[in-house]
Point group: C2
Chain length 91, copies 2
DNA sequence: TAAACACATCGAAACATTTAAATATTTGAA
DNA sequence: TTCAAATATTTAAATGTTTCGATGTGTTTA
């Protein structure tokens, strides 16, 4: 994972709304619907859409279309790679 | 570690210059002088000072004054706590 | 004490991010 | 095929970030 990718993931994580979204996955067994995120956050629908887009762009979330709903799955692999890079900063 | 702190650390990590600074610590045995960072990055002294400040504000670096020089030490503990929070996102 | 050095702060320009309102798109249901 | 629901995009305002030049502050050395 190169530094540009680390930067991108870090930026995706640098917002309490997006952190809250990711934390919600634990309760929901790693799978969340867009509408559930709308209920979770006190933001308008376009704002939530924007935040989800950033998490998807950083590949932390994988979108899966289900009819007119959108289901998100946590990308554990990229999270593991990111964590490995951080661990690498230590000696 | 609360979400505000996670946000702050993530934001500190969301810049390739700052990532490069942290990576340099590995080569320098976890201790860097401000002037060494100036040589490392192709940025002016005020810009480097700004980046170091963000890393210090996020507590990723601990500053130690040595006469008119400033030495930084990597804060492994806060890095570990941050990594633990990220691991916590997984189930 | 004066000059040089190391680092911080200020001010401003350029650019990016966050948010919401309005609108568009896609899909399912009647 | 028309209507309603779910999500995305556009636009614009407010705010935050990055960078540099100029300058300030504290410390060592001549």
């Amino acid at each position: 994972m190169d530094n540009k990718k680390i930067e991108k993931i870090s930026r995706a994580l640098s917002d309490t709304s997006r952190i809250a979204i990711l934390q919600e996955f634990k309760k929901k067994k790693d799978c969340l619907y867009c509408a559930e995120v709308n209920d979770l956050l006190d933001l308008t629908q376009p704002s939530v859409s924007h935040h989800l887009k950033q998490l998807v762009d950083a590949e932390l979330l994988l979108p899966k279309k289900e009819g007119r709903n959108l289901k998100y799955v946590l990308n554990q692999q990229i999270l593991n790679e990111y964590i490995a890079c951080l661990n690498d900063l230590k000696d």
